[in-house]
Assembly symmetry: C2
Homo-oligomer: 200 residues x 2
């Protein structure tokens, strides 16, 4: 059985729980409290030398760090991933967009505001992150204005990757009022089969 | 024929030129000077709404942003990518590591110091990036101390992705003297078939 090393309120970890729920995959959850340094212990660094969660242990001694690589492993041969080479590359395109242009701004703001509850201490950094987070939301809104999902008009791990932190963007101080296409897409995912919330 | 929209001195763009050279793929180069705002024009934003290079145009009207997604598209069915699901996920793991934990620190430092030639103006930001860049190099060194390449002991697009900015890390102020395993790996790539330098 898979083991998921995770910090439960992390959107990156939730991506994997949501995918595994929707794929009917069983797994064991192993909590790692990143706010208490548990992802930087000697024992955990043997599992992921980069000191981050999630890590998906796929078999004894074989662990996959990086949420989107683990999503790919779980879903690459399921209906949550397209079959053509071009659409698979487009799934990856949006997953790299998520990790480079979205997560460092929206997820980090949420971490400071809602997990650490330290908005005052991070005021300056939060101001720097805000326009970059909104720029990512703008790119998503433009795409979703003409598409139901990110790739091939079908729900895939590209959507799961972007859903992880977009649906809790308000916890990072981002207002989705001006993003009707994103809000419609969030609704569609909320109604998808075997959906589970982040707090599950 | 493929078209590559690129800023030639960008490591992200070089990744694709190196891969296409090694795969004997022909392509046309279209220079986009990011220092002059050419990646943010209305015309370019129609090609990539995220306003970044490289973009690989794979056919008329079909463009792939995100260097590592384009690498995947070019190489997923070639000897530059492994065939097993686990090793493919490990290739992606290292490519996500590159974009999240390596590029934002090492590539950005190089951009400020060697492309914009503005080290003084970015002194404070450079100091903040330095330990994070070295942390990424530490993770690479640890892996390469026991492995010739990043996945399955064979040269792959995971190596090309990480090579892009690691081999010019000194242009970002990073000293590889303390990283003998990385230096050995750089040498192996330099000797790989159909290698081309970044300035090619």
């Amino acid at each position: 059985m898979y083991k998921l090393y995770e910090f439960p309120s992390s959107g990156n970890c939730y991506k994997l729980r949501l995918a595994m729920s929707q794929l009917n995959v069983d797994y064991e959850r192993i909590p790692i409290d990143v706010t208490r340094g548990e992802s930087r212990t000697e024992a955990f660094l043997r599992i992921n030398p980069n000191g981050r969660v999630p890590v998906l242990q796929v078999s004894e001694g074989v662990s996959l760090p990086e949420s989107n690589a683990a999503l790919w492993y779980l879903a690459c041969d399921t209906p949550l991933c397209p079959t053509s080479k071009l659409e698979q590359a487009q799934v990856l395109q949006w997953m790299f967009f998520e990790q480079y242009s979205h997560e460092p701004f929206i997820a980090t703001s949420r971490y400071w505001i809602s997990i650490l509850k330290a908005a005052d201490a991070y005021r300056e950094q939060l101001e720097e992150k805000r326009p970059k987070g909104y720029a990512a939301l703008d790119v998503m809104e433009q795409h979703l204005a003409h598409n139901s999902f990110f790739v091939g008009d079908a729900y895939s791990i590209a959507d799961i990757a972007l859903y992880g932190y977009t649906h809790v963007a308000h916890e990072g101080g981002f207002d989705l009022q001006a993003y009707p296409a994103i809000r419609g897409w969030l609704e569609r995912i909320l109604r998808s089969q075997n959906y589970i919330p982040i707090s599950h």
